[in-house]
Amino acid sequence: MEEKKPSIWNKVPSWAWKLISLALAILVWVLASSKWPAVFASPAKVWEAFMKLSGNGTLWKNAWASVSRVLAGFGIAFVVSIPVAFLMAWYDPFRHIVEPWIQFIRNIPPLAYVFLIIAALGIGQTSKVTVIFIAAFLVMVVTIYQGVKGVDTTLIKAAKVLGAKQKDIFFKVIIPASTPFILVAARLGLSTSLTTLMASEIVGGDRGLGMMIQQASGYYQMDVVLLGIIMLGIIGIIFEKIVRYLEKRFTGWQETVQQ
């Protein structure tokens, strides 16, 4: 096989490519906003909206309302799903009772059962956190359960012949071996939380980015709409980067396909 000749493309560093990608995206944005101004507000308008809403604090109030809901709902779901998943993996009767309902509800879009929750808890913070909790929990518990179940039995045997008792096996083998799955579950849970956040805020709410987007769209303020959407995207990326960092830190030991 011939060696690839070094071309001009290979000499451009990767950060430059990212900058080029950003510039292209903004270009596409400008073109779209001049072609369909009724849908896409121009970058300039969105920037103005940003200055105005961040200046008077509305943007940050809404952003924090949304982020705090996600953190609360996801956080509680994370803390609850780990022991439940372990119990399901450890005790068959528990799993037989609980698993069918997890699967059943997991397949129902949160947008449907959010109405039930609002009827019960009103349109405030609690109902939003609750629906995020339910959606994130259901996704994470299944993923973590798969991870625990998939722990190599030879590792457990190896621990036993080195003198490990049940307690040691749990803390020194099963938990470290499941950590990669727990982090994957966290990533899935966070993305589920963000989607469910939208469902919960659109249905009814006092504050939040979803509500901000919806209200602005009612008044045909497409610049605010686009601003809200971009904010959500940025928040999503920040969360993902955090989980990626945790993954690298705590699961760097995994043997990957490339090796």
């Binding site: 190599d152 030879t154 590792l155 045997k157 190896a158 621990a159 036993k160 012949v161 080195l162 003198g163 490990a164 040691d168 020194k172 083998v173 470290p176 071996a177 950590t179 699961t251 760097g252 030991w253 995994q254 043997e255 090796q259």
Partner: protein
């Protein structure tokens, strides 16, 4: 011209008698193991009995499916026999424990721990102080010549190195008996001979009672003092051969006349069993 086939050998003075004066470490008494499978009941072992003496290196050979691994699991306490007993130092085997170390074919290293921490795993469970753990771990890591890799992770090691870590980890907890289930089976021929030599050296420096399973007849003879030959399924002991080749042994030993005599004898026995399974 003799009409004997390749597998009918001359009467070679192969000795089977047990004149071992060392105390018995492991006593395997009429062990039977039956499994329930979808096709009904399957007998893996049908009355296996023999003894392993203190500091003796015993290898078990036999065709696939003759129950060698099952026997190892029973001695190691990872499985219970259907009937029959295994006693270690007079005490019946109740479950797994650090007195019977195991080296698995798939290494079974904990991937989230460094080489050092893997070797220390069993020591920490025994409640040893950090200084003691360090000392003992260093000693065995040196024994398998992996000092430069003490802080590496298993994913950074080759198969042969991983198995050396597994051996160090098993040795570190000072087991009475070391059980090894085809530990070099997953390695290429070159690495295998390398590890055979290393295991011989390690064993000569620190003798342990060893029970070693292998498919490779040459490997069995070069390592062992006695070789147990198993019948095909259901497993029973067909023959036990004394390997009267003195230690230290090297790869050159594999070309000595005595080695070849023993190899012919044992291999023809094992091959008979392979053929009987084929039918």
């Amino acid at each position: 011209m003799s009409e004997k086939t390749v597998f009918e050998i001359d009467e070679a003075p192969i000795s089977h008698d047990l004149s071992d004066t060392r105390p018995v470490r492991v006593h395997i008494d009429n062990v039977v193991k039956k499994f329930q499978t979808r096709k009904g009941e399957m007998t893996a072992l049908n009355g296996v009995s023999f003894d392993i003496h203190q500091n003796e290196f015993v290898c078990v050979v036999g065709p696939s499916g003759c129950g060698k691994s099952t026997l190892l699991n029973i001695i190691g306490g990872l499985e219970k026999p259907t009937s029959g007993t295994v006693t270690v130092d007079g005490k019946p085997v109740e479950g797994p424990g650090p007195d019977r170390g195991v080296v698995f074919q798939q290494y079974a290293l904990f991937p989230w721990l460094t080489v050092e921490d893997n070797v220390k795993f069993g020591l920490k469970l025994q409640g040893k102080s950090p200084e003691e753990c360090n000392e003992i771990a260093q000693k065995y890591i040196k024994l398998v010549q992996l000092e430069d890799f003490a802080k590496s992770y298993p994913k950074e090691l080759s198969g042969g190195m991983k198995q050396r870590v597994a051996i160090a980890r098993a040795y570190a907890v000072n087991p009475e008996v070391l059980l090894m289930d085809e530990p070099f089976g997953a390695l290429d021929a070159q690495t295998r001979t390398q590890l055979q030599s290393e295991l011989l050296k390690t064993w000569e420096k620190e003798k342990k009672t060893c029970f070693f399973i292998t498919h490779d007849v040459e490997e069995a003879i070069i390592l062992a003092q006695r070789v147990v030959i198993m019948y095909a399924r259901p497993g029973r002991v067909k023959d036990i051969v004394n390997i009267d080749i003195p230690y230290p042994r090297t790869q050159e030993t594999k070309m000595s006349p005595r080695f070849l005599e023993l190899k012919n004898y044992i291999w023809s026995q094992v091959y008979q069993e392979y053929l009987s399974v084929r039918k």
